[in-house]
């Protein structure tokens, strides 16, 4: 038995050659920063401070764990992720089922449904801001102001901001999940659905017994992406609350610490504290749904 033949060696060389640009780029702008961040989170690095950064061990992490503000942000983040994910999944499934069958004007409806996702979030978020919290006396600002006041006084300050961020996330995310699931439904052979129509009269039962199991891998990835995005959300919250911390999630907290406060060490530690969330979600999703390889989107 001889070792790798020339053909095989050529294949391996070609493979690494083709992967080189990707690996190079990902290493420099991903692996290195992550490493740097881990190290920084153990120091008190700050551009505002003179002299070399001091190694402080786990002090940054300990400080956060003792800080009620952190726990508040963490709780808000979890609730935010859970609520939006459930709603997005339900609405997205609805979209996908409605659009699964051909009808006149489907392409247009498809475009309409997809628009919230394709639209720059930072811009459409202003539209929402304008709709939900008009800051000047316009046509219906008093009405919205009253709702805001009622919500805030019932659930505490920032509740209205939370509602609006949640609504926005759902609005924007469910269209993406809808399109994603639609792709999944299209990939299922139609005979399976026709067969199911013969088996059971109730559309509701058919949905749970046929559609859901077949779409499992797609659901898994959708849930994962949705949760991951919500956990890491910074842009939406920051924009919709106009950059004021009325409603801290972990992301905005870190942004304030790092960019406004210059506390790179602490901010890094805070960002890294998101990682356990991701790992848990990843593990749970893939355990429950066991998606096949190759459904990356």
């Amino acid at each position: 038995m001889r070792a790798a033949t020339t053909t095989r060696r050529r294949d391996i060389q070609l493979a690494y050659l083709l992967l080189a640009p990707t690996l190079l780029l990902l290493l420099t702008v991903l692996a290195y920063p992550v490493g740097w961040e881990v190290w920084t989170s153990l120091t008190d690095l700050s551009p505002l401070k003179d002299g070399p950064p001091a190694f402080v061990g786990l002090a940054n992490y300990r400080a956060f764990l003792a800080d009620p503000e952190f726990w508040r942000a963490a709780a808000v983040t979890v609730v935010y992720a859970a609520v939006t994910s459930v709603a997005k999944l339900a609405l997205g499934t609805g979209f996908a089922l409605l659009l699964a069958r051909p009808f006149r004007g489907r392409a247009l409806v498809f475009l309409a449904v997809f628009l919230p996702w394709a639209y720059p979030a930072s811009v459409s978020v202003i539209g929402w801001y304008w709709t939900l919290s008009p800051p000047i006396p316009t046509a219906y600002s008093v009405l919205m102001g009253n709702i805001k006041y009622a919500v805030d006084s019932a659930f505490g300050g920032g509740a209205w901001a939370f509602v609006s961020v949640t609504l926005f996330n759902i609005w924007r995310g469910s269209s993406f999940i809808g399109v994603f699931l639609l792709a999944g439904i299209n990939a299922i052979p139609p005979q399976l659905f026709e067969c199911a129509v013969l088996e059971s009269k109730s559309p509701w039962r058919r949905f749970w017994l046929v559609t859901v199991p077949l779409l499992k891998p797609f659901f898994a990835l959708a849930v994962f992406l949705s949760l991951a995005m919500a956990f890491a959300d910074l842009a939406n919250v920051w924009m919709l609350t106009g950059g004021r911390i009325v409603f801290p999630v972990i992301g905005t907290h870190a942004y304030w610490l790092a960019i406004r406060g210059g506390q790179f060490g602490a901010a890094s530690a805070l960002s890294l504290m998101l990682v356990p969330f991701f790992l848990v979600v990843l593990l749970v999703c893939f355990r429950i749904f066991d998606p096949p390889e190759g459904t990356g989107a």
């Binding site: 038995m1 001889r2 033949t5 020339t6 053909t7 095989r8 050529r10």
Partner: protein, 363 residues
């Protein structure tokens, strides 16, 4: 024009040993067919010749070059695939010209060769179409055309007719045979269909589990199968196998089973002597069984009960029960029998086959 030699060829995947010690000499201009059930290693062997699979051990020579380390493009071969593998984004003309363009042939020469091949295959009108506008048979022709424009040393065919319907398959089979006679190029053809193998091959290689079972001309495989597998694989309906015991009586050998006692034909007597008193497998082809008439010698006749009658027009297939097993007989279309009827079958004595029970080799 070239011969192809395989020496101790082996292919191992991580866990599967797909091709085992294959030694084969394919002569210049020969049409060699590799046949066997799926997973027997025939396609892997072909793909090693093409250079699409690495060779784990052994050697392949095309002409007088060892090609083990040559990439496919330098082996001077052409291949026709089961799914035709036409490039969907190119016209038929560009599909056929691709290989010549890659080899930097002058434009005029390319035109000439493509025209020539298109004429041979009768696809001149299709040259401007895209593959998806063609029917299965037309695609098949284009795939063959793409192979022949190159004038390669060896043609490789990987189950090229499997995706066609039955009628078209017979037609294309004849055309391929005619084409080979005209082009006189060495060809290696892989199929799982023994009829294709018998009709097309100058010689046929029967493979199973990665081993070569037998190499020979079609009628040789049919008449003198080397083992039970080849005997059962070549011919349709398949050969009947009966477990019998060799017994010595009245100065002759007899093959005995439950309710069955036939004489061992004289040609086999000497070779079966060592098996006296032991089990062997008796093989009889359906076409070597007939309903017994008074003139048949009684020592080659046995009882059977009709199970199913399948009239095919030109012949009738009878499924019968005899000696506790099911056998098939191919009889004249004029024969009239009823289901469950008791009948007597006569076998043609010099066409009987005997196989060792353990080694399954022909005795």
């Amino acid at each position: 024009m070239a011969q192809v030699m395989m020496k101790n060829l082996n292919k191992k995947y991580d866990e599967v040993h797909a091709v085992k010690d294959v030694n084969l000499h394919i002569r210049d201009k020969e049409f060699m067919v590799l046949v066997g059930p799926s997973g027997c290693g025939k396609s892997t062997t072909l793909r090693m010749v093409a250079g699409l699979e690495e060779i784990t051990a052994g050697e392949i020579m095309i002409g007088d070059r060892v090609v083990n380390d040559l990439p496919p493009k330098d082996r001077d071969i052409a291949m026709v695939f089961q799914n035709y593998a036409l490039y969907p984004h190119m016209t038929v003309y560009d599909n056929m010209a691709f290989g010549l363009k890659m080899r930097k042939f002058p434009k005029l020469e390319i035109q000439k060769r493509v025209q020539e091949a298109a004429e041979i295959l009768g696809i001149q009108e299709l040259l401007r179409r895209k593959p998806r506008q063609l029917s299965g048979g037309q695609r098949q022709r284009v795939a063959v055309g793409r192979a022949i424009v190159r004038h390669p040393q060896v043609f490789l065919f990987d189950e090229p007719l499997s995706n066609l319907d039955a009628k078209l398959r017979v037609q294309m089979r004849v055309e391929l045979k005619r084409l080979h006679e005209r082009l006189e190029t060495t060809a290696i053809y892989v199929t799982h269909d023994q009829v294709e193998a018998m009709t097309l091959g100058d010689r046929v290689v029967v493979m199973k589990d990665g081993w070569i079972q037998q190499v020979g001309e079609p009628l040789e495989l049919y008449g003198k199968p080397a083992n039970k597998f080849v005997a059962g694989f070549i011919g349709s309906p398949a050969m009947n196998f009966l477990d019998v015991k060799v017994a010595d009586a009245n100065g002759a050998l007899w093959a005995e089973a439950h309710g069955l006692r036939v004489k061992v034909p004289p040609a086999h007597t000497s070779r079966l002597m060592p098996y006296k008193g032991q089990q062997v497998t008796l093989g009889v082809r359906p076409e070597d069984l007939q309903l017994a008439s008074g003139s048949d010698p009684s020592e080659y006749v046995f009882d059977a009960v009709v199970d199913v009658v399948e009239p095919l027009g030109s012949e009738i297939l009878l499924d019968l029960r005899a000696a506790n097993s099911t056998i098939v007989a191919r009889v004249e279309p004029t024969v009239r029998v009823k289901v469950h009827e008791k009948t007597r079958l006569a076998m043609t004595p010099d066409r009987a086959h005997f196989f060792d029970v353990n080694t399954e080799l022909a005795i």
